[in-house]
């Protein structure tokens, strides 16, 4: 299974991006979360926001994938509505600031108009492996 959570980008500006992630029974991890009651795990909602934000962090650079952006800090991420197979998580991420320490984002995910996840996080470039 691939670790690719952004299915389709809807709108893109330098500091804001909206996208969707479909949830389908074909995603094997749902069999464990939970057996008989599959729901998108909260951290996968966060990872969807992160993957959307990564697209903004990479920005308009000529060779965006040279830098691997990883999560350094997560703040006040709250979970609301659950997302079930057959539903779609719509995400919106906004770039709040960019400095030497990385990029600060605000993100929100909704399902059928209800908030499923919201919070803030920071991405920074991955340091190369030691040695």
């Amino acid at each position: 299974m691939r670790f690719e959570l952004i299915d389709r980008i809807l709108e893109r500006q330098p500091d804001r991006l909206t996208a969707v992630k479909n949830v389908t029974t074909a995603e094997e991890y749902l069999g464990d979360h939970f057996p008989g009651f599959p729901v998108l795990p909260g951290v996968m909602m966060l990872e969807t926001l992160v993957q959307a934000a990564r697209l903004l962090a990479e920005g308009e650079a000529d060779s965006p994938r040279d830098v691997a952006w990883v999560v350094r800090d997560v703040r006040n991420v709250r979970y609301g509505q659950m997302v079930r197979p057959g539903q779609t998580l719509a995400v919106e991420v906004t770039l709040r600031s960019r400095d030497d320490a990385g990029c600060e984002f605000q993100g929100k995910g909704t399902v059928e108009g209800q908030v499923a996840v919201q919070g803030r996080f920071r991405l920074a470039p991955l340091a190369p492996a030691p040695g």
Binding site: V43, L46, V70, V71, Y79, A129
Partner: protein, 167 residues
């Protein structure tokens, strides 16, 4: 990809602390996409920090659930704060230590420290601090239809507890 982000429970002190580990293996699916080689840059396999948060959530969730003998459906409601200072690469082990701060009928709050262990030397490096809140959903989710039985604590978790000799 399965959804179990801890391999073994090392200890569980009822209502206080739970320690669990997860090995990071090069063959894990998620590492092939996180991150693949691109241009001149070689592949950089690192476990996504969101999945490390999940490992801590599973460790802390077991601590919270066990404190009430698994009578409650314990689900992650809030990540208060998670800060990462190192990266988790294959051939290393994560050790999650979750401490229970508060527990009541509505839910619980936990603080956690994740370390990166070098299995070759035994050396431990701090990797993350993770503060979480859990809800007991029977109390807090009137109107949402979910099964009666406790679907949260699956056989995967109960097997880990059994293997650790936890009552």
């Amino acid at each position: 990809m399965r959804w179990i982000w801890i391999d073994r429970i090392l200890s569980l002190d009822r209502g206080e602390r739970c320690v669990a580990i997860k090995n990071i293996a090069a063959g894990e699916d998620v590492l092939f996409d996180h991150f693949p080689a691109h241009g001149d840059r070689p592949a950089q396999p690192v476990l996504p920090n969101t999945l490390i948060i999940e490992g801590m959530a599973q460790t802390a969730g077991i601590l919270v659930g066990h404190a009430n003998d698994f009578a409650e459906k314990v689900i992650l409601a809030k990540i208060g704060r998670a800060t990462f200072t190192a990266d988790a690469r294959p051939g290393y082990t994560l050790r999650h230590t979750a401490t229970l701060d508060r527990l009541d009928a509505s839910g619980a709050a936990t603080t956690g420290v994740t370390e990166l262990l070098d299995p070759a030397t035994g050396e431990a490096t701090p990797l993350a601090t993770i503060e979480l809140m859990f809800s007991h959903i029977d109390h807090n989710r009137a109107g949402l239809a979910f099964p009666e039985h406790n679907f949260v604590f699956t056989s995967q978790f109960m097997d880990l507890l059994r293997d650790a000799g936890v009552k």
